[in-house]
């Protein structure tokens, strides 16, 4: 049963992601991306990572996507933007990247279909994650916080309109 759910969720994820990259309207794309993220969250849950699943929903689908929405709203992209996007996105452009992606995918499949990869997944509860996170990975946590700080400062600096420009 859970297997079926996994494959269903995977299918939804792929399909919605495909929709993301093909949309002309940024808001539509965002909505599809949220669907995609939610289905990935479901997969996390199936894979026994409920903590990650929660974070996926809260931070990715919640916070980060909202950030995008804000930006799109601030840029005030309306129907003219869609027309402009249509001009930018020519059908022929899909060919090369598609081919490259196909090659990479085939290679990936060839690599992954090695022996001894099929096993069951075991659940890893949030407690274990937390213990490890603040145990051996505490330095990583500090670095991540510094990174976030840097992102904060950088975003503030960059997004500010300079007076003499």
């Amino acid at each position: 049963m859970t297997n079926i759910i996994f494959y269903l969720a995977a299918g939804v994820a792929i399909l919605s992601t495909f929709m993301v990259i093909t949309r002309l309207n940024a808001v539509h794309a965002l909505l599809y991306l949220i669907v995609s993220l939610l289905s990935v969250a479901l997969i996390f849950f199936i894979l026994g990572a409920p903590f990650a699943a929660a974070l996926e929903v809260i931070i990715y689908a919640g916070a980060i996507m909202i950030l995008f929405i804000f930006v799109i709203m601030m840029l005030n992209l309306g129907p003219p933007a869609i027309e402009k996007e249509r001009l930018l996105l020519k059908p022929g452009m899909w060919l090369g990247p598609g081919l490259l992606a196909a090659i990479l995918l085939i290679e990936l499949v060839l690599i992954l279909t090695g022996p001894g990869s099929a096993t069951k997944a075991a659940e890893v509860p949030p407690r274990a994650v937390g213990l490890t996170l603040f145990g051996p990975y505490v330095l990583g946590v500090e670095l991540a916080s510094i990174l976030l700080l840097a992102g904060l400062v950088g975003a503030f600096h960059l997004a500010r309109k300079e007076r003499n420009d």
């Binding site: 990715y60 890893v124 274990a128 992102g151 960059l158």
Partner: protein, 102 residues
């Protein structure tokens, strides 16, 4: 418990990553490129989680956490750059921003 081969999880991650990559390659709108990057980050996180689940270890989720952090920072910077791009070049077309030639 469920018996999903780890390779299937990784394959899904790969497919999602490639879709994101295609997005980066194809789209010229910087917002879509950022979206593509998000997809790729997410796919990378998925790969870690799948691998972590395979061994029943928390390290995969921890890596996902770090990736999440990075993605958050990246998005904030990226969107700030979108503002700059629009402000300076009045377009979202990333190919217009090719001032740094060799």
């Amino acid at each position: 418990m469920l018996t999903i081969p780890v390779s299937h999880g990784l394959l899904l991650a790969g497919i999602l990553f490639l879709l994101g990559f295609v997005c980066v390659l194809v789209r010229r709108n910087i917002i879509f490129i950022l979206l593509g990057l998000e997809i790729m980050f997410n796919a990378a996180g998925l790969a870690f989680v799948a691998a972590g689940a395979r061994w029943g270890q928390p390290d995969g989720q921890i890596m996902f956490l770090f990736i999440l952090t990075t993605a958050a920072a990246e998005v904030s910077i990226g969107l700030a750059l979108v503002f700059q791009l629009v402000h300076r070049l009045h377009t979202l077309d990333i190919d217009q921003a090719d001032g740094m030639k060799g």
